[in-house]
Symmetry: C2
Subunit: 132 residues, 2 copies
């Protein structure tokens, strides 16, 4: 009911585009408790390079989801925090994350099953004589 036609409606895809970037949701989530410095974010997140973090932050900033603040006194003290808009995204993100915790193993099981029993049934194309 709420979201009906986001097939044709571009607006709905907008949110998916936001979450489509690998780190966007992760960074937003890492900021949910308050302002954080890049180095803190990198620690909390793990596995993200400085460059990619910066890109992600710029992207989120560009979309009005986070906020950049430089401390006037301390030179290298930069902090990012969620904007009001950004905070509203936490709920949907949590919904997705919660789903993962509930059904993650089912997905992995399905993947497992699909990988194992794939040999013949589905769209297999085994070339015999006509070697392409």
């Amino acid at each position: 009911m709420t979201t009906d036609a986001f097939l044709a409606d571009c607006r709905a895809r907008l949110a998916f585009d936001l979450l489509s970037n690998t780190w966007n949701a992760v960074v937003l989530w890492a900021l949910r408790d308050g302002p954080r410095r890049p180095v803190e974010l990198r620690e909390r997140i793990g596995g993200i390079s400085s460059k990619v973090l910066t890109e992600t932050l710029r992207r989120l900033q560009f979309n009005g989801l986070i906020d950049r603040q430089a401390h006037p006194d301390a030179p290298s003290r930069i902090e990012y925090q969620l904007t009001a808009l950004g905070r509203t995204l936490l709920a949907p993100i949590d919904a997705v994350g919660a789903w993962a915790f509930e059904h993650g193993d089912e997905v992995m099981a399905a993947q497992e099953a699909a990988s194992t029993s794939a040999p013949q049934a589905p769209p297999t194309r085994e070339i015999n004589g006509s070697t392409a």
Copy 2:
């Protein structure tokens, strides 16, 4: 609360990976009302090529979210439908979609503002050029 550490936890990212593909969520959503044939999906969705649709369907199938059924009598009658697991994803998807409807214009406004005030090229791809 529910989803705490999906920063380190790969399980939570799993769901985001599922939604990270451009068409995954869209196709799932297009299937929410029941079984659909590929051609119907293409009509409903719009802007997706046959090849990409097939890829998406395979991917969703691989993850146990949808189900493929060939009609025995009619040769070219293939239908896809959500599995039980797939149906559980509709809620999170709807949460995201609903957010887009609520805050989509805020995001676009932010983008606008960021673009205007920053003479440089926007760090993000334009999500959508069409008018909302």
